[in-house]
């Protein structure tokens, strides 16, 4: 019974929403605007703890960036304008989704290229192996008499 209860409690825990660092006092009154701020904040990297978004991070700089995002939204900026402003200060690094640029082409297409190379390699490997079994006898040099005698001797010794 105890175990069932424990399991139920753990299951309930899984239902709890993700914990955000966004404090109630930062939030905008208009839910639509706040939703936009969340969309923007999700994609902006916290520059202190670099693998979190500003919405996830408790760092003070992240908090100030969240406030700045909301200030700009209230001032009438579009999502793109807010993001462009932050990028103009911190560079592309601040974006958790790196943009598609000449410099990042390898980053985006690298895995596809490597996958392609792998497929080609496998294809070549099997093709060669199939042809290889046919070619093996065609290109082979027949045994000389001395070699034949040596083999016979070894085989006899086995018996």
């Amino acid at each position: 019974m105890k175990r069932v209860l424990l399991m139920a409690m753990l299951a309930l825990l899984m239902l709890s929403p993700q914990a955000w660092a966004v404090n109630p006092d930062e939030m905008l009154k208009d839910p639509a605007l706040e939703a936009r701020a969340r969309v923007i904040g999700k994609d902006l990297r916290c520059l202190v703890c670099q693998n979190q978004s500003i919405d996830d991070s408790n760092a003070e700089l992240a908090r100030d960036l969240r406030v700045l995002v909301r200030d700009r939204i209230l001032a009438g900026d579009s999502n793109e304008q807010v993001i462009d402003y932050v990028v103009s200060r911190y560079g592309d690094f601040v974006l958790l989704n790196p943009p598609m640029k000449k410099k990042t082409l390898l980053l985006w297409y690298g895995p596809v290229i490597i996958l392609g190379l792998g497929v080609v390699a496998i294809f070549v490997f099997y093709r060669r192996r199939r042809h290889g079994t046919v070619d093996a006898t065609a290109g082979a040099v027949p045994l000389s008499d001395a070699e034949r005698a040596k083999i016979d001797k070894i085989m006899d010794g086995d018996r």
């Binding site: 100030d64 932050v86 911190y90």
Partner: protein, 189 residues
């Protein structure tokens, strides 16, 4: 030829390994500054308590080479560089202006300066990171070299030490001063 094919994966591994090894030596906290070569962002900060009532704005940076130093009383590395900033001030090498970043209250920054000494010409209070974000600051201390036209010419992350000064800041400041002198001579003649 066929044997070489088997060496290929090893070769690829070595190349990737090489890149990763280089990656280990890089500091992910050091980001290229977006503002180098561009004008100082517009900002207007309230003065620190007990200091010059002017405060500090981007217009104060026009006219001469100066440093803008981002510090906070909470910042340990700022304590490390502080004696050297005092040395710059005592020798009158270059004016240093301060962005006092994210103080817990109005008195923390001024108290810190009273206690350890005040190397700054102008100083502004930036409790909500308004100026810090405009400057693209990620951590304190950071120091910007600003030329007489108000263009950011260099950003130094971390404490300013004698070595940083000798190797980077002093030559750059000298260069910028010479550049400005040439320009004014050109305009005069």
């Amino acid at each position: 030829m066929n044997r070489l094919v088997f060496l290929l994966p090893l070769l690829v591994l070595l190349v990737i390994g090489g890149y990763l090894a280089v990656g280990l030596t890089l500091d992910p906290k050091k980001l290229p500054s977006m503002l180098e070569g561009g004008p100082v962002p517009a900002f207007n900060l309230a003065p620190l308590e007990g200091r010059d009532a002017r405060g500090f704005s981007n217009e104060d940076l026009l006219g001469e080479v100066s440093l803008v130093n981002v510090f906070g009383s909470w910042c340990v590395a700022c304590r490390v560089e502080h004696p050297f900033l005092m040395k710059i001030k005592e020798n009158d090498w270059v004016p240093i202006h301060a962005i006092d970043w994210r103080e817990p209250d109005r008195t923390a920054g001024p108290d810190w300066l009273r206690r350890f000494g005040d190397p700054y010409t102008l100083a502004g209070d930036d409790p909500r990171s308004k100026a810090a974000i405009a400057f693209g600051v990620t951590g304190a201390p950071e120091t910007f070299v600003v030329d007489p036209q108000g263009i950011i010419r260099y950003k130094h992350v971390g404490p300013v030490t004698q070595q940083v000064w000798d190797d980077t800041l002093a030559p750059l400041i000298e260069h910028l001063r010479a550049e400005a002198a040439n320009k004014s001579k050109g305009e005069g003649g």
